[in-house]
Symmetry: D2
Amino acid sequence: MGILEGKKGIIFGALDENSIAWKVAEKAKSEGAEFILSNAPVALRMGKIQELGEKCNSKVIPADATSLEDLNALIGEAKETYGGIDFVLHSIGMSPNVRKSKPYTDLNYDFFLKTLDISALSFHKVMQVAYNMNAINDWGSVLALSYIAAQRSFPGYDDMAEAKSVLESIARSFGFRYGKKANVRVNTVSQSPTMTTAGSGIAGFDSFYHYADKMSPLGNATSDSCAAFCVAMFSDYTRMVTMQNLYHDGGFSSVGVSKEIMELVKQD
Amino acid sequence: MGILEGKKGIIFGALDENSIAWKVAEKAKSEGAEFILSNAPVALRMGKIQELGEKCNSKVIPADATSLEDLNALIGEAKETYGGIDFVLHSIGMSPNVRKSKPYTDLNYDFFLKTLDISALSFHKVMQVAYNMNAINDWGSVLALSYIAAQRSFPGYDDMAEAKSVLESIARSFGFRYGKKANVRVNTVSQSPTMTTAGSGIAGFDSFYHYADKMSPLGNATSDSCAAFCVAMFSDYTRMVTMQNLYHDGGFSSVGVSKEIMELVKQD
Amino acid sequence: MGILEGKKGIIFGALDENSIAWKVAEKAKSEGAEFILSNAPVALRMGKIQELGEKCNSKVIPADATSLEDLNALIGEAKETYGGIDFVLHSIGMSPNVRKSKPYTDLNYDFFLKTLDISALSFHKVMQVAYNMNAINDWGSVLALSYIAAQRSFPGYDDMAEAKSVLESIARSFGFRYGKKANVRVNTVSQSPTMTTAGSGIAGFDSFYHYADKMSPLGNATSDSCAAFCVAMFSDYTRMVTMQNLYHDGGFSSVGVSKEIMELVKQD
Amino acid sequence: MGILEGKKGIIFGALDENSIAWKVAEKAKSEGAEFILSNAPVALRMGKIQELGEKCNSKVIPADATSLEDLNALIGEAKETYGGIDFVLHSIGMSPNVRKSKPYTDLNYDFFLKTLDISALSFHKVMQVAYNMNAINDWGSVLALSYIAAQRSFPGYDDMAEAKSVLESIARSFGFRYGKKANVRVNTVSQSPTMTTAGSGIAGFDSFYHYADKMSPLGNATSDSCAAFCVAMFSDYTRMVTMQNLYHDGGFSSVGVSKEIMELVKQD
């Protein structure tokens, strides 16, 4: 019997089998959960989410996570289907500035607001819609995927750093309110750089991936291990953890420097 | 001789004599600095900034800090006047959601984006304009005023929590780039709740002010002490501090609970 | 089938049924783990650990966790019994200064060193002995219980604040080395104030307990919920989390102030 | 006129002209302060502190900072000389484990306690003696030098990581009490790796120094700039900053990775 037996959820952001959300869906399924899969209409066309839906025996419902109308429809249907939901995964992020390779010192501000809207405000919208619809059951668990660029500067990460800062702040702010209302916990998982289709789009991602791997005593966390961790965070084993940003990164965040990196500096 | 002798700057956000920016202007003046004062056109009409301008022998230039056009004009004029500037104070924040008393679980998202644009992206815009105009001298210092709601949840602070998170993230992200380019440092000052005209607008501000005062071993930091600290951060005494969020709060951020607050709980 | 099926461990610090370590033992047992229980000889005489040993079908081995000799014997026996161990819980803390009610500004320094030795260095000793004996299996998990006094000042917590700082630092420092050697992860759990026999010994603990409860949106985490979380951290769901201090506190650490506390201040 | 005009202090830890404490003394002198210099008797014999004493017109008083007797004599004399003191610099650190090249997984525990006693408890002792003697004037400022190894793991830094954790915890814990008593502030300065006689003793220090320099947008902070910062922290410009760990590191602490380091990884 799995640790999510009987639990119902919504998983946002699965695109293809490289997506963390994809892995979370598979793992949640194997642990006994039922869930609805959602992604933006365009992602549905480009990706293979229908395949995942069949595999997991899940409905796939397109929703633009910046649209309150779409979210109302989606969460309304989830509520109707399940009575109430127990977990939500938010794995959504996109920066037009990164896409267009605008350097951080020459950002387009309409893009910047779009980055924040898509990658962070969408998280608030999901919760606000659910909160006002009483869609999440008592002791439910809400997670969003973040990255340590919210705390430290990384080249190439651009305005996604600010988006992740907002995301983590929303987890704290909404976590307080949803905890009070229905003991719902809200957290972010700050994951290692991951070889997803989105991740590999960032310039210099490969060297950065290797850098993080050399810094972390356990190496970079894979998307499979991230999925296992997310499932633990949805389960009843972690009911009292809320308003936290949880590093799932093989130790990276607590490493000043490793010997491997020092060797490279020494040879320089 | 003052510690800002010969330094030129721009100070954003002075409204009246309760403003932190007002106090920073007075203190900077007394330490030998010259500067331009700026605020939004509407604030100029409502406040008394012209009076401050006369007192400090400063030009007052209206600028909507969300408008690249206004910022280009302002910073262009500062550059022309001074050759280059040595310090910038960003003391700008406004949330339409707070103004309209929208609870955090029922935010208006156009307002939310406006909160972020006014209170945080404006900081990026100021630096981006300055950076591309080479307006800030080597070893210049840029500061923005923040608040601990960026790290912890406070009732009533609403989406300003997220705005301050973005502000602090921008300080790190831009601080890295501007440090590389011209040794310019960028920091935020996380200040005690302060009896400004803006602060007192927040519901329940009074009790909150007293709470923070009872928690902090030195009591709440006044706007005068904040001005002194900002001036130190503009001076050559602090050249190597960058990408930091500096708590100027009488110790509040490092207090778990004080005996005074415990007494109140005990009596409950 | 439980999430610790087949795993072997050592649990330090169970005294009676109020102890967190006691609850962890019960929970680990119910999840399929086998383990040795250990505590100081004096705690064995005063407490009811033999009762727990029978319940869990566990050996009880006395060990002074500050004694390398005792630890060598204990961990040696664990290794011999199990081949290798998969998890360790360190729930050990004692401050002679707190016991003798020495105020923080009048500490006895022999006591201070004893506080550090018992409450923190013992954690290093456990790992150093295990490391050099190759006693922990690949992908093992080591946990110690900590408290937020390591980050913020609380009245009455005295030099235990420093002990917890050392404990958390040891988790990072040793976590790096043990991760490199054998993918062993090392973390601390920063738990809510808990009504244990040890906790209730601290002056003013009751009011403090209620304060934390009023601050945390989910209320204080109980020892039962802490046990569930520790078990998750021992399981294979959390393999890539290391060198972290994990708040298991109902949200306390991310709350600036709650409305309940503000009400008390308002009435004051 | 200097920013420390009329201020009296004690400076611990100047050995030779490479010491940060030496630079602080010179800078404090040039800013109008008077102070007593102190170091361990053995350091007095080996170093050139008498030369500094003459230059600064300062008494040099030997004191083993782990000895309450020595501290009582020293602080008693300072109080008698000056009436009361306004600032203290603690720049003291030594690890027998580092000296004897004991790896972190094979520490000698008597040495470990000695590391903590010398490098951290000495800071508590200085304040406890001063506190009970009412030796520090209202609004006085106490500083200790720390390092980011208190937060992140660095190879070769060994049990000094734990010592710095204790040091920073003491700043918070004592800062709360001394703030309440006499508005005295207590902080730590987390300084870049610095080419002092002590620093260069650590194995691999050179490569580490270059690594930090390549990571920090402003480069490593020199001991001269650190001295300027310490002087600002002693001055009346920073009265409301307390219980903080202040990074004076050219930005290092907020950098995830720099392009320079990424280049080395790419070539690997």
